[in-house]
Amino acid sequence: MIEAIGLTKRYGAKTAVDGIDFQVQPGRVTGFLGPNGAGKSTTMRLIVGLDRPTSGTVKLNGKRYVDLKAPLHEVGILLDAKAVHTGRTAYNHLLALAATHGIGRKRVNEVIALTGLESVARKRVGGFSLGMGQRLGMATALLGDPGILILDEPVNGLDPEGVIWVRTLARHLASEGRTVFLSSHLMSEMAQTADQIIVLGRGKIIADAPVGDIIALAAGNAVRVRTPDAARFATLLARPDVTTKITEPDLIVVNGLPAARIGELAAGSQVVLHELTPLAGSLEDAYLALTEDDVEYHAANLDEPTTPMEPVQ
């Protein structure tokens, strides 16, 4: 279990993590979501003592990371794939880290096999692709057979097979009663992998709830309306608390009106409808809705719908 209390980190005048409290429970996968610059990586660095908190504490099974008797055995960390000396081979990298805890060559070979690195284990890490680097990072994290896993963007750079492998592994490790805490920017990936989601924005926790609840937050009231008379119908629907957006010449996305009411209005105004679909929110929508005001680095507005919405099954 990971427990943070009032965790704060300032870099000069900038507050990266702003007094956050959270718990990551064993036996399930906890996802850590947030826009770039929200403070996810900083939080993970604070957990393992690479950065020193400005104030607040974070404990692992009741102890500070620095006080653990066998850090590699208690916590496995993938902070970024490039935390490796590029001049050393993957095997020697793992061997050197294993030596600190008296972990033998047998286990080094095991994690190499487990992460599918056999063919490149004797090659120097400098020539590795991002995906290979991630696999080596996972091998490093698993080296000490840890009870807690902290994985920062573990699927970043992996091929689809690798993504499935990480997902399966994360679920498997959690099912063994381990604590799995992982961040990802792939919301769909998170929806499939995580049980609990913590959403971070501008250094503060915006949401901390089971994944189902988070998705429910976004199960808004958007309705997709397809009609050849889009422009006219959009003006007919106009009301103070209703927004309409014509996304294609014959397509309107309506917010604030239930589908039934839109159908009635169409009938009343003799507007032909080709489609009338209530849209369910996805984790992605929920995430975007939650972090709307907390995005540190906005991309230039390309005047496009932000995410394609999925029809209700």
């Binding site: 660095r45 393992v48 003592g49 690479l50 950065d51 020193r52 620095v66 653990l68 008797k69 066998a70 850090p71 590699l72 055995h73 916590v75 960390i77 902070l79 970024d80 490039k82 935390a83 490796v84 000396h85 590029t86 001049g87 081979t89 020697n92 061997l95 050197a96 880290l97 030596a99 600190t100 805890h101 008296g102 972990i103 033998g104 286990r107 095991e110 994690v111 487990l114 992460t115 599918g116 690195l117 056999e118 063919s119 090659k123 020539g127 590795f128 692709s129 995906g131 290979m132 490093t140 698993l142 057979d145 097979e161 690798g162 499935i164 492998w165 399966t168 592994l169 498997h172 063994e176």
Partner: protein, 297 residues
């Protein structure tokens, strides 16, 4: 270089193994880890080879050009025993000048290489108290450079001493002062590399660390020397005497007079010079240790 992606293991076997002994972080383990780290990088091997080859080569060159047959210079036909031994030590340790530069680069790289590649995060995740890592690195580096120094100096001596009788120098291996001076040269190289290591730990970048280390070892004494020579200022002459290279150089000088102060200018001997060199290391190492503990990795 291209790497092929191996097939992913989709069904993970349980990663649980039952260790035969408890998995625990120990200082012994950290030492072993640092030893593996040092010797699994090519730069270490090449730095050591370069030191040995260059030093022996320069010693050999010096011994050869001194030979009267080659140089055609008049040679004192009956130098005193002490002068003979001093010449022998000087020729055997002449390579330390270049050796110290290469070993300084190695000393900086041992720590800066971890910062520049991000390895330091893996290192400190495995050993979060940090100071054991710093100590282990220093021990492994110190032993390595001392051994390289011994091989270099004694190797050079073994190769060139048979040539020295040609210039009426008859090195006497039985002279403990000669052996001490040769050991002193190896010790000097080890401490210089540790000073560079401490600078690397303070500055954390390879380029900055090497520049600062070379600056302290080579550039600063030279500039001070020029200032001292042109102004004749006592303070400048004393600073020159206390520079790591000059103070440490007394460790491998065969003839060293007792420490003295002549009209305000200090002169060090092997003991005091060695202590001054050690003081440089201790001050820089303590500063590195304090900052290592306090700074974010």
């Amino acid at each position: 270089m291209t790497t092929t992606t191996p097939p992913a293991t989709v069904t993970p076997p349980s990663p649980v193994t039952t260790p035969t002994h408890p998995i625990r972080l120990t200082f012994r383990g950290v030492l072993k880890s640092e030893f593996i780290k040092l010797w699994t990088l090519r730069s270490t091997f090449w730095c050591c080879v370069i030191v040995i080859v260059l030093s022996v080569g320069i010693g050999l060159l010096l011994a050869t050009v001194q030979a009267p047959a080659r140089a055609g210079v008049p040679v004192n036909p009956s130098p005193t025993t002490a002068a003979q031994q001093a010449t022998a030590v000087r020729d055997a340790t002449v390579g330390t000048g270049i050796g110290q530069l290469v070993l300084s680069v190695l000393g900086v790289l041992v720590i800066s290489g971890e910062y520049s590649t991000g390895m330091i995060r893996s290192t400190f995740a495995a050993e979060p108290k940090r100071l054991p890592t710093l100590f282990a690195k220093a021990i492994v580096l110190g032993i390595t450079t001392f051994v390289v120094g011994l091989v270099t100096v004694f190797g050079t001596a073994a190769i060139i001493f048979p040539l020295l009788p040609g210039i009426h120098v008859h090195p006497n291996w039985g002279d403990s002062k000669l052996e001490l001076a040769l050991f002193g040269a190896a010790g000097y190289l080890a401490v210089i590399s540790l000073i560079a290591f401490s600078i690397g730990a303070l500055i954390r970048t390879t380029a900055g660390g090497i520049a600062a280390a070379i600056g302290l070892i080579l550039v600063a004494p030279t500039i001070l020397d020029i200032v001292a020579a042109t102004t004749g200022a006592t303070w400048a002459q004393n600073l020159v005497a206390f520079a790591p290279t000059n103070a440490g150089g007394k460790l491998y000088a065969y003839v060293s007079s007792a420490p003295s102060t002549t009209s305000g200018v200090v002169s060090l001997d092997a003991h005091t010079g060695g202590l001054v060199l050690l003081a440089w290391f201790v001050v820089l190492f303590v500063a590195a240790a304090v900052l290592l503990k306090r700074r974010d990795a």
